[in-house]
Symmetry: C2
């Protein structure tokens, strides 16, 4: 069973599982694990690792339209050195401060591979799910896509300073709070735009028609990509970017844009999904349901 | 730097770290990671693993005197099989149900070693810490000690059914809530009675004098231990038992006992710790500050 099939099994067995985060009595909770081999390319500093690991969980809180309150992490490594531990904690604390949450520690564990398990908490009385998209709604994306894909290329090229900088994203808590007022469905783009669109379409039992030219690909992608195919690969599929993907009724798009503290791009439209064409399309062609998934 | 030194560094750098759990605006949060090699002996079922991993975090919530509200887990394994995943989720859900909390899922991750990262949440307006023990208070322990040490011997002997049963402990949420009304300091015994006593004494800037005969060693320990030295090793030091260790003013001991839904043993007394003898003693001898610590 691959990770996706297994996740779907869990979704069927556990009431609150399946979305980016669970919400229990107004408290949002979400947890995640990142590993040296799969998530932290050679050259990733511990500061970036702390920032990014905690940021990934904060992003899941943002996807529900909640405010973030606190985060914890388990730092597991073969050995503990004071500079590494300090840097990690500084990164974890800084990303929390950036979004108004409190980093409240966690645990340490001796482990063969550097591994970080993070949990973030939030608070909302009215979480936005993935299932409310209605035909005619506009599909919107915050910020730009492809930063993490570009960072990976830069890590490979030894440009670690710039790569680390791109790897430290701002979790979209403020945007999520603002968009929660308008969005009919929302999630983050951690698995890539393409896969996020498929998940959102499936949960909402709708289709999505995207406009390729409207997808806000980050400038860094154009710096590292030699051709248009690579630009699309990193911008549309790679993921790990932690932007928000949401659907907003047409009449609310301008208000959503005005309220949202970061750039909000309209990249497509929700369709009824049963016109015989592909459920999720881009420029009229099927958008493949693939992205960055561990374990495949 | 070993795990203990590293934990102490984290305690100095992060405001809320150090105790069993952090408390932010009345929400208790605690996180932990368990591994195949160090925490799940050969023969541990996935049902037991789910129960125990989530139970360990619930125990940290209990140690603050809070009610448990929810738990999540990241299940990381080299591969996912439906029976294993189902069993794990059943164990995680059952232990949550036992203490009135909700298991709300989490995440899956492909990882070389079977690893579980758990987070439990709770709620309390008045958390009990480790630092309030006063000279004259009685040192109390819930339940019995040494079950996990005995279980490990049984796993080694191939008696896996009985070992799994002993490994599935009841997190002391109800006891923690009841004791919170009376206790001046509280923690769980996950690192063993001896180390817990040292941590509690240090945090409270006090001493502790224990009575060896009063320590409630579990019957299973006597079954597996060939001699008295082994009984002590498993009962006093081994840990991983997740009972509560607390201090209660002498006048409140009978009420605490009456309110506590499980056996509460008085095993010693808080001293002022500066009489020139060992800060933590048992039967008049120094109680070594050692136990079961990963990575030492």
């Amino acid at each position: 069973m691959n990770e996706r099939a297994a996740l779907s099994l869990v979704g069927g067995l556990v009431d609150h599982a399946g979305d980016d985060a669970a919400v229990v009595d107004g408290t949002v909770v979400t947890t995640d694990m990142l590993h040296d081999r799969t998530d932290f390319p050679a050259g990733t500093t511990r500061y970036t690792a702390g920032w990014r690991a905690v940021g990934a969980s904060l992003s899941d809180v943002a996807a529900t339209g909640a405010e973030a309150t606190a985060a914890v992490a388990v730092y597991a490594a073969p050995e503990f050195t004071e500079p590494e531990l300090r840097d990690f904690l500084r990164g974890a604390t800084d990303v929390c401060e950036l979004v108004g949450a409190e980093y409240v520690g966690g645990d340490l564990d001796t482990h063969q591979e550097f591994t970080v398990a993070t949990t973030a908490l939030g608070r909302t009385d009215d979480p936005v799910g993935r299932s409310g998209a209605e035909p005619g709604d506009r599909l919107c994306v915050t910020g730009t896509l492809g930063r993490s894909g570009a960072a990976l290329r830069l890590f490979e090229a030894g440009e670690t300073d710039r790569a680390n900088e791109l790897f430290r994203f701002e979790p979209r808590l403020a945007a999520g709070l603002a968009l929660a007022e308008h969005a009919t469905a929302m999630m983050d783009s951690s698995d890539g735009l393409a896969r996020s669109c498929h998940q959102l379409a499936e949960a909402s039992e709708a289709g999505l028609a995207l406009d390729g030219d409207a997808v806000p690909v980050d400038g860094a992608v154009h710096e590292v990509a030699a051709d248009e195919a690579t630009v699309r690969e990193l911008g549309w599929y790679f993921g790990e970017d932690f932007e928000l993907v949401c659907t907003v009724p047409e009449h609310a798009v301008e208000d959503a844009r005005a309220d949202c503290p970061v750039r909000l791009s309209v990249v497509g439209e929700v369709t009824d999904g049963d016109d015989g064409g592909p459920a999720v399309s881009i420029d009229g062609e099927a958008l493949p349901d693939r992205g960055f998934t561990h374990g495949e």
